[in-house]
Subunit: 272 residues, 2 copies
């Protein structure tokens, strides 16, 4: 497609799968995502191989990213620049929700001395969007943008509980097909049992997960809701079981968590 056809598009605006716009943009984004902790710096050939692109194709994308300031090159190796953060930041700043949530979460984390996080559902994963770390409960990799499977996390179950019956059934069927991994002795053993627990979460309006994902990790989650009562995100407190056993979570943390979730929901409903 030439520059000219981009400016003067055909009468039909339908998106064709082979549209070069789709291709080049999708490839560009895949190059950004090719950089990771395992491969923070890569040569042109490495990027091409990792993204299944020709050298020429990879080179065009890398030079484009360099021109735009998203990639730096030290001669032979390419790496991402901090400007890349602007793209994720666009998301965060685009959602008034997170601006309302942050001070409330900060106050909660400092009052309880526990880590407080918020996440949304993305397919069958939860994605961390905000996180107030406290002490050293969570691993380094649970920063903003990191993912965990929804089914065995407290935030995930809160989010799954708000799915339409059809969407939830599809997720459970998918889990059934892959068989539930047993992360600990306590991990829920079947999708039938999981389904019951999700129904209970829907009923009671919060979720406690006791060491189903990792030994020693207890977590409690509640939904942040929009005006129509749909769940926008989940709010969570994570704690170490030896310091804060499940009973203490329910007694001390639950009322405060529900309160914080209600506070954020109200702000979103009024001003969002």
């Amino acid at each position: 497609m030439t520059e000219k056809t981009q400016v003067h598009p055909p009468a039909s605006e339908a998106l064709k799968p082979g549209d070069s716009y789709v291709q080049s943009f999708a490839r560009g984004l895949s190059v950004i995502r090719a950089f990771s902790a395992e491969a923070p710096r890569q040569t042109l050939s490495e990027v091409a191989k990792r993204c299944e692109l020709t050298r020429a194709g990879a080179r065009r994308i890398l030079l484009t990213l360099e021109t735009l300031g998203y990639v730096a090159c030290d001669g032979r190796q390419f790496s991402l620049t901090p400007k890349i953060l602007d793209l994720g930041f666009a998301y965060l700043s685009a959602q008034p929700l997170w601006q309302f949530a942050e001070p409330v979460m900060q106050a909660l984390a400092s009052e309880l001395g526990e880590s407080v996080s918020a996440a949304v559902l993305e397919g069958s994963d939860i994605v961390y969007v905000l996180r107030m770390p406290n002490r050293k409960i969570m691993s380094v990799n649970l920063g903003v943008g990191s993912r965990l499977p929804a089914w065995c996390t407290s935030m995930g179950r809160v989010l799954l509980a708000d799915l339409d019956a059809e969407a939830l059934t599809a997720q459970l069927a998918q889990l059934d097909a892959q068989r539930l991994p047993r992360h600990t002795m306590r991990t829920v053993a079947s999708t039938a049992e999981l389904s019951q627990r999700i129904a209970q979460v829907r009923e009671q309006g919060w979720c406690l997960v006791n060491q189903e994902l990792e030994e020693g990790l207890v977590s409690l989650a509640a939904p942040i809701k929009d005006r129509g009562g749909r769940t926008l995100a989940a709010l969570n407190i994570g704690a170490q079981v030896n310091r804060t056993p499940p009973e203490a979570m329910l007694e001390t943390c639950l009322p405060k968590l529900l309160d914080a979730a209600r506070q954020i929901s109200r702000l979103v409903q009024i001003k969002g």
Copy 2:
């Protein structure tokens, strides 16, 4: 350019400014950045207008983003999805530095009860890459990815102090041309004075900024250095002047900050 020529590129690999790859990719990224707190949800026409694209061009990009899962559409309005965070996360996870820095910063924040941040230089701005918030000193907008002008922040001066003479001169000339805004009574008044302070930072290996950016905000920064002694990032403690005056910052916080910065530098130098 057709799909075919992308797979079989011309012999010359040179990037031409009019290359459609550059254009479509750059436009795609500009659409992502068009979403903000002021415009979290936008119609096709609004996106087109904001990005100076034709409706057809904007539509193609939005549909591409939707196909890739980065954008959702509720019928009429488009918004970013949390998958967008993967792009910024690619940067964070691509830098071993941040994985080493996080636990050290967390320990420092919890020991001092002050907020601890890390930033890198991006042109004349600092960009926040990690942040351990504590209490309510920092405004909501100082999250990961947010920017501040380097010249009037402690992290900025630490980062500027490591620039080559030529690059620093260029930055100062640019500041001279735009005249330094006086954020508070204490903001440095001239680039000559700024240049002296930066030289002092280079000499002493840390920087204290006392309410030059905002009344009441005192901050202290130190460099994280690579094997060759070059500054990779700056580490910072931000405090409220009434609670932690500059003298207390120097007495209590400075040794701990320098220690944390050295610890992270050593980890990066050994394992990074």
